[in-house]
Symmetry: C2
Subunit: 237 residues, 2 copies
DNA sequence: AAGTGGTCTAGACCACACT
DNA sequence: GTGTGGTCTAGACCACTTC
């Protein structure tokens, strides 16, 4: 583990457990240097990560303030898998694999997913239920070139855990789009509801070397959908 | 302007104009050092900003790849005002100020907005129309302590431009929440539609010194709503 | 004036990708 | 092996807040 990551984790943990309470200052950069026995740059890298994640705000001449986490604040944004989310929120949810098959990308699927025409991909459809009620339907497409093997068991647990843990893939970034769409007959059947609309999240997900490995359409029941985000202003358009 | 910001802007412009085309590599860090006559750290800071914004992806041992911007990619995420958005997308839209008043924060408004009870705030309601049809209704609350003066004219143009340009406020970060809600009678009247649902974006916005200056509820017509995001995976939960 | 974070530099060594 | 980005260090000076 890199030094600045360790410092980041340590500070994050201390903020979480109120050892550094909200509305107070973190130790100064100089003090942190001494505490962890590293150079200033390394401390600053860890602080930059905390800043990025919305945990602190640095004020020049004053210090690094710990931000209070509002009620509305848990990380639903970013690039986090459903399984990781339910774990960190300690929700009890159930994943059901509806179908799992290999398909060849045709031209319309190519423009939708971003995959090359004629390439082979896995198509997985899964439902996510809370309290026995379906709240999300996910349709995933995974490049077979990068994910040679996929089973019901893996899809039922966590595909991301398998990709990162077993296959050692480096999941790096994603482009997402959120819209609200009218429901189709099949969707109403899968979700066991009569809603006219659902929230649709399309995302293309890429590895660290810029190869695309996934395209997902995630359909959320409209009354179960909630997206929380921390954003910083870019003074540099 | 800071050196790394200038380099960032220059590189960004050169990517935008295809001088550095998508799918190709940027010059190496060493070359960029020589081009701009700065140290490696300064180059790396500029590259970090491009990475953050989803314009490039660095691959160890290979270089900095310019990412192709998908069709679905314009910056609706982040912390950008409506006026800035319509400008950068070159949409012709109209803002109508529905009301502008000063109110004193009571306890229920306090817990909603995050402002102190008994403090004074401006309340502004505005509609945004495209092609003569209302697509967004914004309700803003602005701390009077930080924004002593507010007029119809300012609210009609761009409040952010006024705050940053005239008042010199440093708008830094925001916490947002997106949900879908049933419409009320008034909302249907304001939006001149019969939709049952709308998209609600609540946001609390803060200055660089962590003081909150704004709370906004932005209500979007369901078929006009679109949110696009670039997200990086945090391997550090 | 003292203390704090912000910027910038120069140099070292490591990890990874290419050929 | 060579070249690339990743990490880490040590030191300098500036800008801002606080007293």
């Amino acid at each position: 583990m890199k030094k600045y990551q360790e410092i980041y984790h340590d500070l994050k943990e201390k903020i979480r457990t109120n050892l550094y309470p909200a509305e107070t200052s973190l130790p100064t950069e100089q003090q942190l240097q001494e505490i962890y026995g590293v150079s200033r740059d390394t401390v600053r890298k860890a602080l930059a990560m905390l800043t990025e994640g919305g945990l602190i705000q640095k004020v020049q001449g004053r210090g690094s303030m710990v931000l209070k986490q509002e009620i509305l604040n848990f990380p639903v944004s970013g690039l986090t898998s459903y399984q990781e989310l339910t774990n960190s929120l300690q929700l009890s949810s159930q994943t059901q694999v509806v179908s799992l098959e290999q398909v060849t990308v045709n031209s319309s699927l190519a423009s939708l997913t971003g995959f090359e025409p004629y390439s082979k991909v896995w198509k997985v459809v899964r439902t996510r239920s809370i309290d026995g009620k379906v709240s999300v339907v996910d349709t995933d497409y995974l490049a077979e070139e990068l994910v040679p093997e996929l089973t019901f068991e893996i899809a039922e647990k966590s595909i991301y855990e398998y990709l990162e843990g077993q296959l050692g893939l480096d999941i790096a970034y994603a482009q997402k789009e959120i819209t609200v769409e009218p429901t189709s007959r099949e969707e109403r059947d899968l979700m066991q509801c009569q809603d006219d609309y659902l929230v649709l999240i399309k995302s293309r997900v890429y590895l660290g070397d810029t190869r695309q490995f996934q395209y997902t359409e995630s359909k959320h029941k409209i009354d179960k959908f909630r997206f929380v985000d921390f954003a910083r202003r870019k003074h540099s358009l």
